[in-house]
């Protein structure tokens, strides 16, 4: 049974090899993926190194702070940097549009600052050539160029009639041609991507094999969808010309029209609060950590607790208690406002994923970024981790201050021993299993696309017109 498929495969490959234009297109595709991978890995290496060094410098800066009050140190704060994950070399996702660092200081949760794209010019934003973007956009194009002729070309030349007359099963033809297209495609893509991934993994040992395997799987589904669609169209088309016209139109719609349109529609359907209004709303609810009312209340409670009537008689420092209470009373405010903003983004992302019903590119974008850990959902995890760390810092410092009564602000100064008690900031990618449901729509829709494409292809192959 495999023999007819094999024969078709050999014939197709031979035909493709004789077509100089196809060879050129294949070589161009290989070159693009290779260059994008090389540049991606190089950029990734530099940025990883910079961030690691900067994080180390910040840590040693913190450990070597001069003698300072604990609250003074809290105001000096720490900058933390978002680490790069190895798979970001393949798909940096929205990383360039997110800030690189956040300042963890007393009293407030700051926003991330310095988005690389804000510094870059318009040219860099025009089309960012990453391995993922190239495969998402040019992979389908290569498939179309390899496959649009598969059935329609034979029909134009009259060879399809001959094949059918000797009783060849259309499904064998289909599988043979699909194997040929897929084989050539893999020859173009796999070496370049493998190089990139190997280099990426070489950078860091903590690559998640689950993520990598799933990433390979979703790309196979995506490209498989296009192989199926191309063969279905070419099997039904009246001529090679109309097959090509239809497939190219679909390619433009898939790669250019739908993603932008769906993003606009998601933005229109679920508006995010403007930065100014959001900030003002949060500031209106934040209560001042140094407010006179809070000070009086804390003192009153302490007097009652220790049975004294003046601050000098207290065995603890009321300032530490006040500051910590000031921090804690604002936690729910930060959580609510950041939560509201993040929730809006998440809902937009869900709308976007459903947009995958219009074009498979939308689903692969969501899944690829998600698996590479370079989408907003993962960024959110980092924001949360950084804020948790900020709260640990404040608690450690304020508790230390509480233990040391002082007459005036800043009388007590702490030293390296206290700074070292603040743990070093650690961040690891969240477990994929916790985030899996977020990507369910995209994953299901991509599966459906692939199934639909192959059902169509098989049906067209079994009912071939000569």
């Amino acid at each position: 049974m495999t023999r007819p498929i094999w024969l078709v495969l050999v014939k197709e490959i031979r035909q493709m090899r004789r077509d100089a234009r196809l060879l050129a297109a294949g070589f161009l595709g290989f070159l693009l993926v290779a260059v994008a991978s090389f540049v991606g890995v190089q950029h990734h290496q530099i940025v990883t190194q910079q961030k690691r060094e900067a994080a180390q410098t910040e840590r040693s800066r913190w450990l070597n702070l001069s003698d300072l009050g604990p609250h003074g140190a809290a105001h000096f704060g720490i900058y933390v940097f978002k680490p790069e994950t190895p798979l970001m070399a393949f798909d940096p996702g929205v990383d360039q549009f997110l800030g690189v660092s956040v300042w963890l200081e007393a009293h407030k949760q700051n926003k991330f600052i310095y988005r690389p794209m804000q510094d870059a010019g318009a040219v860099q934003r025009f089309f960012n050539m990453t391995p993922a973007a190239i495969i998402q956009l040019l992979g389908p194009l290569i498939i179309i160029l390899l496959g649009f002729n598969a059935f329609a070309g034979e029909r134009d030349q009259g060879t399809l009639r001959q094949l059918l007359s000797i009783g060849v099963d259309g499904r064998f033809l289909l599988l043979g041609k699909a194997a040929a297209v897929t084989g050539v495609l893999f020859l173009v893509l796999v070496p370049a991507v493998a190089m990139a991934i190997a280099a990426g993994i070489g950078l860091s040992a903590d690559v998640s094999w689950l993520r990598l395997t799933l990433l390979v799987f979703v790309y196979c589904l995506y490209l498989g969808t296009f192989v199926g669609l191309t063969l279905a169209v070419t099997a039904r088309a009246g001529s090679a010309r109309s097959a090509l016209a239809f497939l190219l139109a679909f390619w433009v719609v898939n790669g250019f029209l739908v993603p932008r349109s769906v993003a606009e529609i998601a933005d229109w359907a679920i508006p995010l609060p403007s930065a100014t209004a959001w900030q003002a709303g949060m500031e209106a609810e934040i209560r001042d950590g140094h407010a006179t009312a809070l000070e009086l209340q804390v003192k009153r409670e302490l007097f009652a607790q220790y049975g004294v009537d003046n601050v000098d008689a207290l065995p603890v420092n009321w300032r530490g208690i006040m500051l910590q209470r000031g921090e804690e009373q604002n936690y729910p405010v930060f959580d609510a406002h950041f939560g509201k903003l993040f929730d809006g983004v998440r809902r937009q992302d869900i709308v976007y994923q459903w947009g995958g019903l219009l074009a498979p590119a939308v689903t692969i974008q969501s899944l690829s970024m998600g698996l590479a850990g370079s989408d907003f959902e993962h960024h959110k995890g980092f924001v949360r981790a950084a804020e948790e760390h900020r709260r640990v810092i404040q608690k450690t410092l304020n508790e230390e201050l509480t233990l040391h009564p002082e007459k005036e602000w800043g009388e007590y100064s702490a030293g390296p021993e206290l700074w070292a008690r603040v743990p070093e900031f650690q961040y690891a990618l969240p477990d994929l299993r916790d985030l899996m449901w977020h990507y369910a729509p995209a994953a299901l829709i991509l599966l459906a696309w692939c199934a639909l494409a192959w059902v169509l292809a098989l049906r067209s192959a079994t009912t071939l017109r000569p």
Partner: protein, 475 residues
């Protein structure tokens, strides 16, 4: 002869089933693009209105509280007291720097979704402002907007291809070309007339669009240069269309089948719109990397740490620069010293920021030249200039913000040093007024038009000799 060809072309087009489909597509994508651009501008105005309201109500609140405090009806800690200069400056001052959208802003979102257009200014370090931004979904930023610029740059060429790929080649395939060649018209003449007809059609569509846009921005059309800018915008789009039309002529001149023409044109489109820009962007990233913000943060922190170790050095530095204020500072309270220290630390950070900005500008200056490699990049950059949505316009805005920040600081610190503790200047402290001077940069757009026309001309010249040898029958 031209009139006859135009007449039959028109009849043929109307009879063609593709034509209504294409027309409908054009209306939808242009309409959608314009709607998205307008939506973004509306959003900006909405944010601006709410910022202005916030500013007004904060001021009103501060005034009311100050009156209550002065009347002894309310007690408030010194540093929150709106009746004092220090309290007002530190706690109540709300002043927004606002960048109004340019008249043509609905035509391109450009980079404006990446940059802040409303900044809350107070006497705190303004280094934070550099990274301020609007809340736009980052995925949308990554994909880019579906605006009229996108439609013109990416989709307009495809529309032109749909109209032109089978000109002459289609006639040859149907066997009509031999008949046409028997008429008193040369092949190049026939081809240019047919292409010319389609060019007029596209210009007609664009002119209708222009009228629609004029209606949309009618209230701002009479601002200085707005109308001129709109015409220049049309000029750029027409020049870009001309480039693609003549590319069609060039491809057709090879005498291929219409399907091959379509494939070749699609390849050119991919090259001009995707691959060359991608190559340029990759090359820039690799060869001229942006100065690193991570490094920048390190330098900034070094300065900050230095300042925290010995704050008094800054007061001394300030007094060396302003010797006349020394006696006043000496016997003034800690507020003035604190403000001076903050100001000097800010200035230190500002020095690092300025150095960074210079590095950036050098990089971008070089990048500017690379846009001549692709008509798509050229047109994109002209759109950003015309609609005031590029980095140049943003840089101008930020430099105005810098000046304003310094002015505001001077106003308050001088008062503090002069011991003007009671504050009454609620209506007289400096306000920000945006001066839009991007409209003075029309010449760049003219260069773009000229460059595009030049590229189109080269294509026309290259195609012409081959047209004379065009095989009118299949060999």
């Amino acid at each position: 002869m031209p009139r006859m060809i135009f007449k039959y072309e028109m009849r043929q087009l109307i009879a063609d089933r593709m034509f209504p489909t294409i027309t409908l597509m054009v209306i939808i994508v242009f309409g959608f693009g314009l709607w998205n651009g307008q939506r973004w501008v509306d959003y900006q105005y909405q944010v601006i209105a709410s910022a202005e309201q916030e500013q007004a109500s904060a001021l009103a609140r501060a005034k009311a509280q100050a009156e209550r405090v002065r009347a002894g009806m309310e007690e408030v800690s010194d540093w929150q007291n709106p009746a004092t200069t220090y309290g007002f400056m530190e706690y109540h001052l709300v002043s927004f720097a606002i960048k109004l959208p340019a008249p043509l802003a609905p035509l391109a979102v450009g980079q404006s979704d990446l940059y802040p257009f409303v900044l809350k200014i107070n006497t705190e370090p303004q280094s934070k402002l550099v990274s301020a931004h609007e809340n736009v979904n980052v995925r949308k930023l990554l994909l880019g907007p579906f605006d009229l610029a996108f439609v013109s740059i990416y989709l307009l060429p495809l529309l032109i291809f749909a109209l032109c790929y089978d000109v002459v080649a289609g006639e040859k395939e149907q066997g009509i070309l031999v008949l046409l060649a028997a008429q008193p018209v040369s092949l190049p003449q026939l081809l240019y007339l047919k292409i010319g007809f389609r060019l007029i059609l596209i210009i007609g569509i664009l002119t209708l669009l222009l009228i629609l846009i004029s209606g949309l921005i009618s209230d701002r059309l009479f601002e200085p240069q707005a109308a001129v800018q709109l015409l220049v915008w049309l000029g750029v789009v027409v020049a870009y269309s001309l480039f693609w039309f003549l590319l069609c002529v060039f491809i057709i001149s090879w005498g291929w089948k219409s399907a091959t023409n379509a494939l070749a044109l699609a390849g050119c489109w991919l090259l001009v719109v995707v691959l060359v820009p991608a190559g340029v962007s990759t090359w820039i990233t690799a060869a001229y990397p942006l100065p690193s913000r991570v490094e920048f943060i390190k330098t900034m922190r070094d300065n900050q740490e230095n300042a925290w170790k010995d704050p008094s050095q800054f007061i001394e530095k300030f007094l060396i620069d302003h010797p006349q204020l020394r006696p006043q500072v000496k016997d003034n309270g800690s507020w003035a010293s604190w403000s001076i220290m903050n100001r000097e630390i800010n200035r230190q950070i500002q020095v690092v920021e300025t150095e960074f900005a210079m590095q950036l500008q050098r990089q971008q200056h070089f990048v500017e030249w690379l846009k001549f490699l692709s008509p798509a990049l050229l047109v994109h950059s002209a759109f950003l200039d015309l609609t005031g949505t590029g980095i140049a316009s943003q840089r101008e805005f930020l430099s105005q913000v810098d000046l304003y920040h310094a002015e505001l600081e001077d106003y308050f610190i001088t008062k503090l040093i002069r011991k003007e503790i009671d504050f009454t200047g609620y209506d007289e402290f400096p306000r920000f007024h945006y001066k839009n001077i991007s409209s003075e940069k029309l010449q760049a757009s003219f260069v773009t038009c000229a460059a595009l026309a030049g590229q189109a001309f080269v294509l026309a010249v290259l195609g012409l000799p081959r047209l004379r040898r065009y095989p009118i029958v299949e060999e």
